[in-house]
Amino acid sequence: MKRKREIKTWSREIVVGAIKNSFIKLNPLYMYKNPVMFVVEVGTFITLLATIFPTYFGSTPDEVGYNALVTFILFVTVLFANFAESLAEGRGKAQAETLRKTKKETMAKLVQSDGSIKIVKSSELKKGDIVICEAGDIIPADGEIIEGLAAIDESAITGESAPVIKEAGGDFSSVTGGTKVISDRIKIRVTVDEGESFLDRMIKLVEGAKRQKSPNEIALTTVLVSLTIIFIVVVMTLYPMAKFVHVRISAATMIALLVCLIPTTIGGLLSAIGIAGMDRVTRFNVIAMSGKAVEAAGDIDTILLDKTGTITFGNRLAADFIPVGGHSKEEVTYYALISSLKDLTPEGRSIVDLARKMGAKAPDDILEGAEVVEFSAETRMSGLNLKDGTIVRKGSYDKVKEYIGEKGGSIPDDLDKEVEKISLLGGTPLVVVKDNEVLGVIYLKDTIKPGMKERFKQLRAMGIKTIMITGDNPLTAKTIAEEAGVDEFIAESKPEDKINVIKREQAQGRLVAMTGDGTNDAPALAQADVGLAMNSGTMAAKEAANMVDLDSDPTKIIEVVGIGKQLLMTRGALTTFSIANDVAKYFAILPAIISETLPAIKVLDVMKLSSPTNAILSALIYNAIIIPILIPIAMRGVKYRPMSANALLMRNLLIYGLGGLIAPFVGIKLIDMIISSIFGM
């Protein structure tokens, strides 16, 4: 069972913490990192001064109430933006907290140079130390098994309670601190110092303590800053120009106009979107080492996938029974079934299932007194010696040939042909033998995981190319590739093939993602733009990758791409929304400013707002409350389904572009109706 890593956004604890943090973040030293909201904060300060000393700021004393209102709304706007960010961070912190609980101080059995064992605190372990862990022990630090084999419960990290087997040597030798040994005894070499363990890094990442703005976030901030500067110029130059035509604008109104125009909506939500995007990846049980990696996932053009374990199950399942030597299909099916009755491997089970599905039925008493011949690496055959003396076997072609030769049987003429046919199709032939007679062949096929075909179709619609990597021969590879629907395949691949393919794709301007777990994969994982390492893999692979999947499910790379796209789309959609909103705000504020001097300007007041003051306040209130209204979208991300860029664009343009043009007209009008009727202003 999976322990759900679900944390509620609106839990009391998180919300209270976020409210507290929204005030702490008012510190200008922190605020200036968000230039758009910093401008709002400075504006708040100026309107505050204009409330206290109205005459110095172009206001008459009776406008103090208005100035105070503007100050209040601006203040709330800044708080809303801070709240959005704090809320997103709060979720990360809550996740980190659950992780931190697993990081308890434990006792370690340190092997000293003379071979004796000393009990030390886990925090005292250093890189290179050797410790011993036995059943029931918590592994004290990240390390590598150098001796032994053990079942380990990694649920603390992965949420997956089924134990995994780790052993010295090979690709499954790394262990993570905080996980628990369930059986056996292992010797571990510690590979990290205290505070740098995988768990420590995960906590830091999840918590967002070391959050750096990602490249696209920086680029977008640049545009937002540029727009902000343009609007500062627009508003500052408006004052003398307005004065020239005898229009008086008070400082508070100028700042209200400025704040309405600068992209506060996206400015206030931008960091929340980034944090929430990372968080969505984490909730998916994938740890991304940086926001950059998540963004890169959205840009992926090519995905490299291992055939075995990713596209196919890896274990071969029975697909057909082919008779040879004049035997009937029923016969071979029946004996294939008999041969596998006691075979508990996935292959064996699939033979039984298929045979039964095809109508074969073994007598109920067939197993009575039968002798089971288990598969062994030497004989490469398995089967039953029945009570009546019948010997039933299935096995590899070569071994069966030898066996028949020994028994003095003959090989049917068509066996070679059928065996070859299956091999060419990418299957594995198992020959079925009764006594010294060859009955036929079981066609074992590498089966594509359910749903993979549809996913590849989606990926193609999204414009992502898939490349399958396999050690199989080209013909086998081709068969599987065609059946699964991948765009390209590399057969008989050698370890360096992956990195070569990645480099080739990158040279054509494409961004490449891949999954991997072995030490062999490390260079390719490092070279790929998105390298997703399996948690079950080696430390080297995890170090080289920029994402680690705690569930070790290689197909997740596809979902990660989706999350990356969703992150970028959310930014784009809310930016578009934010800028489109400005049009309505102009129509609310500009007529309000000019109407005193030139009443005819009212034709531009398309919303027919109740009074100039109410118009400005309504626009400002709209501008503030749209931030919390959009927090759910920022946190959840805009809806994303895999489809072509054009379809996505149309959808988002309609909702956030056109919607962004219309929504404020409706919103400002509503707010105006409320403040004019309820408050009678």
Partner: protein
């Protein structure tokens, strides 16, 4: 009655010429073998030889930008001194004096930046020699400078090398193969229609009244052709293209408009060929024409429906449009059309006085200069179009869930910083200098109208300078030391900052490996992109200039109703 038949005739002609001329420019920029090599190659090789240019030398963006800047500076310095001592030089039949320093400063910047804001009167402020070796010379070189820098930018967006070409060779080729031949042909047509081309200077005639009248002629036709072909706009006479010697007939008026439109429209086709994406170029072409037509039709409508004040003025029993400040031979439809063309294509020549337009009719040229992207001047216009296109791609491209990419190349922080800065320059120059002018007494004294119309005058002057247009709201007093320096600086920064930033963008984009398009990439070659592009140009433009336009022309319009 009025119709837009001239507008659509012109567009039809331009559309027919776009492909051959666009291809021709492509061949020039790409150094393709051409049939005309026989004639032009010897000329070019001769120029390379005497100037010591090595046309094979490749320049990266920095070198290209630096060379462009240096060559322009040298030309400005030389022409500045010519203007300052012109009265001592030959060919001065009208007896022009040496130009005052602030005016000469303004004039050389104005003509070198392809603006041609004229604070001097052509009739008596400048000698014939200056007309030719300063004015006409700069008209050729400024157009060539715009075109070749555009070529370099196009190469950066399409090539796989970081080199953008050779400025000198580009400059020579575009002048020899494009600007000279077309303007020669145009000169002949204009002379046929009655535009003078003579060194005779003053002609004194006896009038019917018995008095004497001095008529100034001169080498007008040659100036007139490059003035429009090169989207320059400075007139031989103060009255510019409303003067009968500059623009005598309906036909010359049409030809002048066509000449203005010729290169900026064709250059978009060239762009399509350069980037190997003709559909993207077509989308831009159509989108720009949509905005152009909307504004042109609007201006013609406004001048034909001048409102209450004119409703009682009838000619032959019919209400007529706003004839104030317009030549009778062009009327109330062709004049605003000319005004639209001259500001869309940032030429700045005028065949009527824009100051006398109805508020909304006059707002059209103002808005076109504020947008500064509706085709624009030779080369510089395309650069602004690319700038807006990249901005559009960046703002909306994220919505397909990828880092925005243009022509397969990712738009990242470095490019967007440059673009953001380039976008900022234009509104900053206009709004800042307008505000400063109305605030300062020395500036406000140039404004000859009160209130809304006065503000429009100021906005017009600086929009014209910043957009490198050069047309004037005639009532405005330009020739003061303050205005000469202010507009001089605005023209200078408006031109060079944008071009250098765009060259930097091109240099940075050239370093990227273009990714082939896939169904997952944001498309820039379909109708949706066209619509988004129009929306971004209009919304960004509106958000920036809406307050100023409301306080100026719109308030003026509303105060009249």
């Amino acid at each position: 009655m009025y119709s837009n038949i001239e507008l659509f005739t012109m567009i039809a002609i331009i559309v027919l010429l776009t492909k051959p001329l666009g291809t021709y420019m492509y061949n020039i920029f790409e150094y393709k073998p051409m049939r005309s090599d026989k004639i032009f190659l010897p000329v070019e090789n001769f120029i390379y030889k005497i100037t010591g240019i090595n046309p094979e030398e490749e320049m990266d963006w920095k070198k290209y930008a630096l060379t462009f800047l240096l060559v322009n500076m040298v030309m400005m310095i030389i022409t500045y001194f010519i203007l300052r001592v012109q009265q001592f030089l030959p060919l001065n039949p009208t007896g022009a004096k040496n130009m005052e320093s602030s005016l000469a400063f303004n004039t050389v910047i104005s003509f070198m930046t392809n603006t041609n804001l004229q604070h001097y009167a052509g009739e008596d402020g400048i000698t014939f020699l200056s007309q030719m070796i300063v004015i006409v010379f700069l008209m050729f070189t400024s157009a060539a400078s715009g075109l070749v820098t555009a070529a370099a930018i196009m190469r950066g967006l399409s090539k796989k090398t970081t080199n953008l070409g050779n400025f000198y060779a580009d400059f020579v080729r575009i002048t020899v193969r494009l600007l000279l031949p077309i303007s020669m042909l145009a000169t002949l047509i204009l002379v046929w229609q009655g535009v003078p081309q003579t060194f005779a200077g003053k002609v004194v005639v006896d009038t019917l009244e018995g008095g004497k009248q001095t008529i100034i002629t001169g080498p007008v036709a040659v100036l007139e052709s490059i003035k429009h072909l090169g989207t320059n706009g400075g007139g031989f006479f103060g009255a510019n293209s409303s003067h009968p010697f500059e623009n005598p007939t309906w036909l010359t008026n049409m030809i002048e408009m066509l000449l203005m439109m010729l290169l900026p429209t064709s250059l978009i086709y060239t762009y399509g060929l350069m980037i190997n994406n003709k559909k993207h170029a077509l989308v831009l072409y159509i989108s720009l024409f949509v905005i152009f037509i909307l504004l042109a039709v609007g201006a013609v409508y406004a001048e034909n429906h001048p409102g209450v004040a004119y409703s009682k003025l009838h000619i032959y029993g019919k209400p007529y449009g706003n004839y104030e400040g317009k030549e009778v031979r062009f009327g109330v439809s062709q004049s605003p059309l000319f005004a639209t063309v001259t500001t869309a294509f940032t030429t700045g020549s005028v065949d009527s006085m824009h100051d006398s337009y109805t508020p909304l009719g006059g707002a059209v040229p103002l808005i076109l200069m504020m947008l500064n992207t509706i085709f624009g001047g030779d080369g510089a216009g395309l650069q602004n179009i690319i700038m807006y296109t990249i901005l559009t791609v960046f703002l909306t491209g994220l919505m397909v869930g990828r880092t925005p990419e243009y022509l397969g190349r990712k738009i990242e922080t470095k490019e967007i910083k440059l673009i953001a800065l380039a976008i900022l320059v234009h509104p900053f120059l206009i709004l800042f200098s307008s505000a400063l002018t109305v605030m300062l007494k020395v500036g406000a004294s140039s404004v000859t109208n009160p209130l809304y119309h006065g503000l429009t005058q100021v906005l017009y002057e600086f929009s014209s300078a910043a957009a490198n247009n050069g047309s004037e709201f005639a009532g405005f007093i330009g020739n003061t030391v303050f205005m000469n320096i202010m507009t001089g600086l605005v023209m200078f920064f408006g031109r060079y900052i944008t071009i250098i930033l765009m060259l930097a963008v091109a240099g940075s984009m050239a370093e990227k490996i273009p990714a082939p398009p896939s169904p997952g990439t944001f498309r820039t070659d379909n109708a949706i992109f066209g619509a988004i592009f129009i929306a971004v140009v209009l919304i960004v433009g509106a958000l920036t200039f809406f307050p100023a336009v409301i306080l100026g022309p719109i308030s003026e319009f509303l105060s009249m109703t």
